[in-house]
Amino acid sequence: MKAQERTIISNYDLKKPGTRLMYYLMNLLVVIMMCCMVYPILISLLNGLKANTEVNSFPPTFFPKEWHFENYIKAWNYIDLPMYFKNTMMIFVGNMVVTVIVLGLAAYALSKMQVPLKSAIYYYFLMTLFIPATTYMIPNFINLKDLGLMGSFAAIWLPAGANAFFLLLLKTFMDGIHVEIFESARIDGASEIRGFFQIAFPLSIPIFATLSIFVFATAWNDWFWPSFILSQENKPLSAAIRDFVLNARRLDLNIRFAILTIVMIPPILIFLFFQKFILRGLYLGGVKG
């Protein structure tokens, strides 16, 4: 963000003591907000380093009195984290492949190709946006059972292709690519498949990257649906955390915090590294809220 010449409050306003005080109070409010945002994240990191008696003491301390780094080793070995991490990545990669192939091809066809009954098909897809997912959550579950997909990754991967919101974003983006590129590729004898994979897909990398953020967030976050759909050994990390950490009765609080910290660090690091990029992508998908 480049320096702005002024905001709602001008430099002249700031010379008045009342306004100045208000301005400082407002900044203080933002600082308090920032502390509230960071505190729960830091405290779980630090609680993971304390002795169990210290975590349970009242009033709670911020910095550990003695540092127990071995808690994180215990936490790492408490459940098979690498396996669940692998499952989460399987879901992410599979969902991404389905998104590119199924939704990418469909968006390309809707945007740049001749399709019979194009607008009817487009509305067939978009209509699903108006039906809230919760209302057919249970039939969806029964449907997956009927199709015999229950327990396998396919039960997550294939429905990932039924996302009208992503389709809308992809088509809108592809509408902005000039059609002449594809026309000239066709004249030069490129097949339609090459037209998609060698021209449309590379040119749409920005929107696919944005979608990959959403898909990753879903894969990492979603615990409810996978815990009902996937079998025990296919469960993603978040579902496993809920089953074995949140609902565990005999698990020391410090180890619990250590596990939670391990799980939240990767997404936070990814966010901090790709921050600019992610926040820009967010405006694009702002509709999702």
């Binding site: 963000m1 002024r6 709602i8 002249y12 306003d13 900044n27 933002v30 907000m33 920032m34 945002m37 960071v38 729960p40 994240i41 405290i43 009033p59 709670p60 192939i101 199924v102 091809l105 469909a106 066809a109 809707l110 190709m113 001749q114 399709v115 098909i121 897809f125 699903t128 039906i131 809230p132 919760t134 209302t135 249970i138 039939p139 292709g161 039924a162 809108t172 509408d175 902005g176 000039h178 026309e183 339609e192 990492w220 976050n221 409810f224 955390i241 809920r242 949140l246 609080l253 915090f257 939670l260 799980v263 939240m264 936070i268 990814i270 926040l279 967010l282 405006y283 509709v287 809220g289």
Partner: protein, 307 residues
């Protein structure tokens, strides 16, 4: 969604080349076919099955039997349904009262900051990337009777609050936690809109003698009106379906105080194994929510979010 206006040129061209057109029809259809199959199998099929199942007694072993409107009768006879509707409305109302204005306030405050704007933005968004399951674990401890929030309350001389167990507090506790987590993303949308307001408008208003409150009231807020309406609708749609936090944190308790409508659907299906009634509840919910969806569609079409 905006679309570029450069597209129509392509429409006139291909009509003249007859042989290529047929071939292109085939390829276009092949490209769209996987999406058609998947949308049909995983969206439209369950949607219609849901309507159908609501008239059946669903049994995975013996097969379904048609029972007419019995499922709907069960729904209207169940007192939990009314409780859950009331809880859902309460939840939606609380989320508006506690959470809706927060992102607007902080977007205004952060847009005014002369320095460290980037830090504030990142900090506000940070909780949004924390996985839900971690959130539940951490906040259970924060809300604990011997947790840090109660320690602060005690140190300033207030009495202890049982955030989770007290019926009067349980829903509010969930809303506070969710606001903490998600206001950052709404704030970024508001912030982008506020920063897009031309600076000269403020300049002109100031020369005309408008105070700061008047500038906010008559320039900034009208300028982000579309975003406010859009996010209001999105929040209502999201909260009307909310159940995951209630389920994970309190399992609908204490004494059904956080039993939302969607959570009741889940409980009918996975606890009482009554998939027919769960489907009927879903169908009823659809009719209630379609009103919201229509309103949102109209706001969207007026060009809510500029990307």
């Amino acid at each position: 969604m905006e679309q570029t206006t450069a597209v129509p040129i392509s429409k006139t061209k291909p009509q003249t080349q007859r042989p290529g057109r047929y071939k292109r029809y085939v390829w276009g259809f092949i490209f769209i076919l996987p999406a058609l199959v998947i949308f049909t199998l995983f969206l439209w099929l369950p949607i219609f099955k849901g309507v159908l199942n609501s008239f059946y007694d669903v049994d995975f072993v013996k097969g379904n039997t048609f029972i007419g409107f019995d499922n709907y009768k069960t729904v209207f006879a169940d007192r939990d349904v009314m409780t859950s509707v009331r809880n859902t409305l309460y939840y939606m109302g609380l989320a508006l009262a506690i959470g809706f204005w927060v992102p607007i306030l902080f977007a205004l405050a952060i847009s005014e900051m002369r320095r460290f704007q980037g830090f504030a933005r990142v900090a506000a968004y940070l909780p949004y990337v924390v996985p839900f399951v971690v959130l539940y674990g951490v906040w259970r401890w924060l809300y604990d009777p011997v947790g840090p929030i109660n320690a602060v309350l005690k140190s300033i001389g207030l009495s202890q609050i049982n955030f989770m167990v007290d019926r009067a507090w349980s829903m509010a506790s969930i809303v506070i936690m969710e606001t903490w987590q998600s206001f950052g993303s709404a704030m970024l949308i508001y912030l982008a809109a506020i920063l897009a307001v031309p600076r000269d408008w403020y300049e002109a208003a100031e020369i005309d003698g408008a105070g700061i409150w008047h500038r906010i009231r008559y320039i900034t807020l009208p300028a982000i009106r579309n975003q406010i309406m859009l996010l209001l609708m999105l929040q209502l749609i999201a909260t009307s379906q909310g159940f995951q936090t209630q389920y994970a944190m309190l399992d609908g308790g204490p004494n059904n105080a956080t039993l939302t409508y969607a959570l009741l659907i889940v409980k009918y299906a996975f606890v009482r194994q009554d998939y027919g009634v769960a489907s009927a509840l879903g169908v009823l919910m659809f009719f209630a929510l379609s009103i919201l969806a229509i309103v949102q569609y109209r706001i969207n079409n007026r060009g809510g979010v500029k990307s």
